[in-house]
Symmetry: C2
Subunit: 347 residues, 2 copies
């Protein structure tokens, strides 16, 4: 069993490469749900859905979200109707009393569909509709995700990190906003003062996730450590389970340069150096790292280097081979075995 902790891009890309050499029935993916959003009454799980759609073979690989060749009649009509009554495409966060009424899992993440600010394809929306309805029928998000995975005939296990509401809230000088408002609507431009995982103190992970972590090992792809993996680490029982597991992480940085996304800015805001060294600080439970060949940073744990840029599945397969090597080093380190060469290179 290999357990991947997944945000929306880095780890899913790595997973696509790893699936070439792993038996998918031995793969469990734990998906971040901190970025989930309720849009027009429908719960959207961007990170979980990227894994779901890619494993189902329907992911739009140009964007790494949504379904390939999807239409967007509903989205375009929503935009047209909204504009014709003077509502722009900006996010319309619903009033506080609307954030907590009804569906518990939708707390702190409810946006109006008016001026729908995220692009939702028509078939994509069917997934959000079915998910939301299965939740309303009384199923947990874990069970609901399992049924969606069945509907797409998935051969790997896909688990949300928690059945409780945990929302990634970005604090900016102009106020707090949900991560999707910060990232999609404001293109990650606002100054970040702090990142809050609202609800995490009262949330736990699930038994299936704890079982998977216990079985391990754990692989964290080049995900954003703050908003992709951070929500998982904010769950006390999740974090504690990692301390006892064999964990390998791929740095999303090349020294202090990030491949893509808001990781640098977010790490700086929460007090980590925006670099590979900061990633190592954020992951004290990691037993080995995979770094880019151009990344000369020294870490206090074993390192395997390779070209960590992943433009296609062949790239991802190379990074996965480096992960396999790092897992060997991590297992040896966990077992306190002497490692002759704690730094290796995979090409």
């Amino acid at each position: 069993m290999t357990v991947f902790l997944a945000g929306g891009t880095g780890t899913p890309k790595l997973l696509a490469g790893a699936r070439r050499s792993l038996d998918p029935t031995d793969v469990t993916v734990v998906g971040n749900t901190g970025d989930d959003v309720e849009l027009g009454g429908l719960l959207v799980c961007p990170d979980v859905d990227t894994v779901l759609f890619d494993a189902a073979g329907v992911l739009d690989r140009d964007t790494w979200w949504g379904i390939a060749d999807d239409t967007a009649e509903t989205h375009e009509e929503l935009q047209r109707l909204s504009e014709s009554i003077g509502i722009g495409a900006e996010p319309r966060y619903l009033p506080d009393d609307q954030q907590t009424a009804g569906r518990r899992i939708a707390r702190w993440r409810r946006f109006s569909a008016a001026g729908e600010f995220m692009h939702i394809g028509d078939r994509d929306r069917a997934v959000h509709l079915l998910r939301t309805s299965l939740l309303d029928e009384g199923h947990s998000i874990t069970e609901t995700t399992r049924r969606l995975a069945d509907a797409f005939d998935l051969d790997l296990d896909l688990l949300p990190m928690s059945d409780d509401p945990v929302a990634s809230i970005i604090h900016t000088p102009s106020g707090a906003m949900h991560f999707q408002e910060f990232w999609v609507a404001n293109r990650g431009e606002p100054v970040v003062e702090d990142v809050e995982f609202r609800g995490a103190a009262d949330a736990t992970t699930t038994e299936p996730v704890l079982d998977a972590i216990r079985e391990g090992p754990i692989v964290i792809g080049p995900s954003n450590p703050v908003t992709s993996i951070g929500p998982m680490l904010a769950l006390d029982d999740f974090r504690a389970a990692l301390d006892d597991a064999t964990v390998v992480a791929v740095s999303p940085f090349v020294e202090d340069e990030v491949f893509s996304g808001p990781a640098a800015k977010l790490m700086d805001a929460v007090g980590y150096e925006p670099s590979t060294r900061g990633v190592a600080d954020a992951y004290p439970f990691a037993d080995a790292f995979v770094l880019d060949v151009e990344d000369g940073m020294e870490l206090d744990r074993p390192v395997v280097r390779t070209d960590t840029k992943m433009d296609d599945d062949a790239d991802a397969a190379r990074v996965w081979r480096a992960c396999e090597h790092a897992l060997d080093l991590a297992a040896a380190a966990t077992a306190d075995e002497t490692i002759d060469d704690p730094s290796a290179e995979v090409s």
Copy 2:
């Protein structure tokens, strides 16, 4: 000002004919909301939408619901996903505690999107999304409908009958079910023991509707008197306002034959003769009637006869001319004027 009380087919068809000769800015349509349903978290207003779409020129005139040439990618994907996990297309009414949580207007009408049993087109769905979100933003259904009408550039006034939840519930030997479950999913086949307008005792109509009725006159097309007009009559203040208004109604029957729909069965269940005479009993406030030329029933109020079958707008225009004639008779009757010929024929 002419005020039409509208269900989903009869009155909207009549209205299409009347619009040829009426200034649309002098037309108000009060729409039945008893048949409204919440499907997958989206409030669907079938009767209001038929008027909305037809007045906007986008109605599918083959079915008299939905948008012409609409795609249904989301609906078809929902059906496919649901079937692949063993959920059929039967209605999945949500648990009791889910019926009343959150959105007040959605009470007693909440269905899962799993196995979506009503056909919802993609652009059609955009309307339900926008409506639901405007409600969640804090607007009433009256205000929300006004904004949708603006979005479609409507030239007539479209008013829901109430801002309160009123749900048409059909009691059958196998239990109570929402009207849409009875009509769409079960094709109107179950035995009807009673019809309940749940919530009506605690509901009122709105000031804009009362103002329109006071200004009048009122036209009731060949609608189903029970589930199309009945929910309006179940509102005490609505019913009282009608007593003081000039009202003309078109019978949906030719003697005891109904043109289409479940009117006969429903009238029988609530104690009215399923015939034109029963319609007259159900509408004691009506001052004159339009009947079919083949309908020989004698009524205690003035009658205008014409061919009431409406297959196209020319037919509807003819029925509208009969309504105009009946309005004259009704006005005379209301004013206690002597009517030389209380029965006339329009061809």
